[in-house]
Symmetry: C2
Subunit: 555 residues, 2 copies
């Protein structure tokens, strides 16, 4: 019997515990989720951010299983990176398994992965821990919460969830099972804090179906709808509205096509025969007989809808006679790109229906009343808010206290710091190696980790540009053989740029003459002198601070 449980949030940028959580108990390690984050705006040139696997590499012999709660990128997107260091069985529901397999095939790793489909209600073993899969509602099908049965009692990890009593397909979240566990005694609850700032209840996904149908009914325009590719229930409702109003449906965008094919395979979606047509057939049908479902709900530059908005799509030419429905909210950080895309669509003459005007999107995350129900139902001894920025986890902690959990039994997690729990109490332990691995260039089979120095230079280059001073000297530092030349990139000069370049050359020449006079032979010293003289001049002349890079060639 082990009397200790350690929980380590290893992934996420601002939202702790989102991408990867480590459970350690009785010498065994269980991983929950393995996703990626998208970079902050100051992470220049970074494509994705994945968890740091250093700690797991060190303890890989103790890793028993990876369990995935659902198929969103922030929960599955780093599986292919993890597999290169740590290989263990991966357990998840069938749609999630399908999505992971697509990713692994793209990365050429499908042959080494051991992905096992489970049903909700099923229990798998991860060393001394039993992991039970509990059905929840979320904006993707096949989402589950986990009950991790330990020697100390069950620990409930909700994953992303909401309570939808009228879901589009399947059942409401399994509140009965959560209540049963609560009656018997839940040791700890880790719960989703994403929407803790919103009062009330999240609207049912079904309400979107009605709002969409209203947009389809009596509309004589061609209809183009964009949403998150992974939201199968939303896509089901769009297709329902199209079928009900006599429209054929074309699908465009790689991720949308992949997920639809998978959903059809797995029978997660119900499409009457003859409904789906090729995109190339759209032109030959009357406008009011067509619906196009497309990627691009976040205004992603290369997405199908964004290309249509900017007139760069090969097959679809949007304009007057098209109604475009953006059935999604911008993820924080994407507000401006989404605004720009919507503006372009309007400029082309399209009618655009978007969130600020009508209720054509609902969130997949529980709001305050739902979170309180889960807290009251499971009555955990310990509570750890997860999936949120600090202020959200703090607000969730206050909600938990309202439902009667003692403050001393509530802990707000930190990235990389083990949460150590026993019967006696809960505390943060010393940090393990963790952090964000910034990946630049997502070619299969390779990754460039963008280090701090590279990012620091990129920030400097982005803000002020670069100024090179290049000179060829005799090896003994006695003579300038060629140069100094001044070259700039991304560097803004006041209007008389030629005069400034001439001055910079003069300053460099004088500095080199001074170095020769003082008989400096050490390149480092000469470079420092050049850098100092040029930055001093620029600071006086136009208060700018480019990255100054002296280059000395030795002959």
């Amino acid at each position: 019997m082990s009397q200790k449980l350690k929980i380590i949030p290893l992934g996420g940028i601002n939202e702790v515990g989102k991408n990867l959580t480590v459970y350690e108990h009785g010498g065994d390690i269980l991983l929950v989720d393995c996703g990626l984050s998208f970079p902050d705006e100051d992470m220049f040139g970074v494509d994705i951010v994945i968890p740091d696997f250093t700690y797991l590499e060190k303890h890989k012999n103790r890793v028993r299983a990876l369990v995935i709660t659902h198929g969103h990128e922030d929960h599955i997107g780093a599986v292919s990176f993890l597999l290169r260091s740590v290989n263990c069985p991966i357990y998840c529901t069938k749609l999630t398994a399908g999505l992971i397999k697509i990713k692994l095939e793209e990365a050429g790793l499908a042959h080494i992965a051991d992905v096992r489909s489970v049903e909700t209600g099923q229990v798998i073993q991860a060393g001394c821990m039993d992991v039970e899969f509990i059905h929840v509602n979320h904006s993707i099908a096949g989402a589950v919460a986990l009950a991790i049965h330990t020697d100390l009692g069950p620990v409930i990890h909700t994953g992303d969830f909401k309570i939808d009593s009228t879901p589009v397909e399947g059942d409401m979240i399994d509140l009965a099972r959560l209540g049963e566990l609560g009656k018997r005694g839940v040791f700890a609850l880790l719960s989703d804090s994403t929407n803790v700032e919103r009062p009330g209840f999240a609207m049912s996904e079904r309400t979107v179906g009605e709002a969409l149908l209203n947009q389809f009914r009596g509309c004589d325009k061609r209809i183009v709808v964009t949403t998150f590719a992974s939201n199968i229930h939303r896509i089901q409702q769009i297709i329902n509205a199209a079928v009900e109003t006599g429209r054929k449906v074309a699908i465009t965008g790689r991720s949308m096509e992949n997920i639809l094919a998978l959903s059809i395979d797995l029978e997660c979606i119900d499409i009457p025969p003859g409904t789906i047509i090729e995109l190339s057939q759209v032109k030959s049908l009357p406008k009011d007989k067509v619906c196009i479902i497309t990627t691009g709900s976040q205004g992603e530059p290369m997405s199908a809808l964004n290309r249509m908005a900017f007139g760069a799509h090969r097959q679809v030419d949007l304009g007057v006679g098209d109604r475009v429905i953006v059935s999604a909210s911008p993820v924080p950080g994407n507000e401006k790109t989404v605004s720009r895309m919507i503006d372009e669509l309007f400029k082309r003459g399209c009618e655009v229906i978007y969130k600020r005007l009508t209720e054509i999107h609902v969130s997949g995350h529980a709001c305050q009343e739902e979170l309180k129900i889960i807290l009251a139902l499971t009555k955990p001894k310990y509570f750890i808010p997860i999936h949120g920025e600090y202020r959200m986890m703090k607000a969730h902690a206050e909600l938990a206290a309202l439902t009667g959990i003692k403050y001393k039994n509530i802990l707000i997690p930190e990235l990389g710091r083990p949460i150590e729990i026993t019967e006696k109490g809960i505390k943060l332990g010393a940090a393990v190696p963790s952090g964000r691995v910034l990946v630049d260039g997502i070619g299969p089979g390779e990754m460039g980790d963008v280090g701090g120095a590279v990012l620091h230079d990129r920030r400097h280059l982005a803000t002020d540009g670069i100024l090179l001073v290049v000179v060829t000297m005799e090896a003994d530092g006695s003579t300038v053989v060629a140069g100094p030349d001044i070259i700039t990139r991304g560097f803004a000069m006041s209007r008389d740029s030629d005069a400034i370049l001439e001055e910079l050359r003069r300053v460099a020449t004088e500095t080199l003459d001074g170095c020769i006079e003082k008989k400096y032979t050490d390149w480092v010293t000469i470079k420092q002198s050049l850098r100092g003289a040029l930055s001093g001049y620029l600071n006086r002349r136009q208060k700018s601070k480019p990255l100054i890079l002296p280059i000395i060639m030795e002959v």
Copy 2:
């Protein structure tokens, strides 16, 4: 009698007609507002964006007056830049005049400017146009709409406004005068589209006073409030709440201090004697006797509150025992910086009250019902939505049509394109020179215009970094004297970076050998060969595309 009116929106990035609007009538030019925009996130290293004054420089002899609607940065922030090219009398209400004078003094231009204070109801002459100042409500005191009386009839330019029937100070917007003009016949209306996506009415500024007082009452913590420095009415309400609950008030942040001093001078604010204390006195008073009003509502890196949040403020140390009230919404684009600041405040143990949780901020812009009232009251022949992104102006056009304005008399403006209006109709003319001038480094007396090439390079450098290949050759291209050396900055390499650098050097050497063999003597050709070979190698090796800069020194 002139039968033509030309209106040219010359300023703004995404929001047309925001920063500067040109009215041309009977050979005279009237300018309305002269403000700046803050850069989009892809305008790397750009500090501010100002209108392009080329057109005005060309016609400066016809410019009769600059009229300013209110003292926000996006309406006054480029006055000092304009004055260097075009000097004309500047008319505005007294608070606006005071704010402009502060800016002109900072730029060392106060002595050449002719700023004239006017009262609402007053009329000034701009050549053949009479300009009447009409009181409106907005989030800054002294805001006005304009009635520009032309030979074709009055043109109403609302500026930024809302309808506040219970304002904190002064009267409701002068609906009576707008109605009177409407009855006699308004030729054209140009109206604020900022909040056209919001149904209903904007809340009264006074409601914020009540919400603030609730936060002050019974609070035993120190209270720190941040808001927009220019929102004198909000600051008045914060001070009222402090006085009512027995707290002294300290002010911090340069812009907040400047504006408060100016408001006291102009008697725009009412502060009981003995209320204001120095920031240095705060420590000697009990927590529940102090309120600090500070800049930083947008999470600006150098603002007082942001420095407090990150523990970098000299005088104020925030933590448990402080209640921080963020009485502002993030301006689009600032969401993440504001979130980060709030998170840091929570981590220090502060209690933070912000918009998502309580109603401690209201907008200063009219919502749908207010916009319809102005349309119905002025009953203009022509309608031009301004101050908004394209989708908003489009929505505003639809509202106008609802109130009975004919579609053919409604025109959505474009940056730099003159709107030509006669009795017969309204149309867009050919574009005049316009655009965004990107200013990098705001030293007094100088500006660097960041051109397209510079910005293009900065984007490239920010995303992929730079790779230099430097070589010294005989002047005839026959021999490599030194190098090639490879130098990178901001360039991410797969883990074996030494091997890659070695390979790049080998590729460069082979390329140079090839050039010598082919007896190339033209540096441009040799540089192209180097660039081609290195980019080809990198593309194959790690799919990265740094800016490749070959440098050949000739001896």
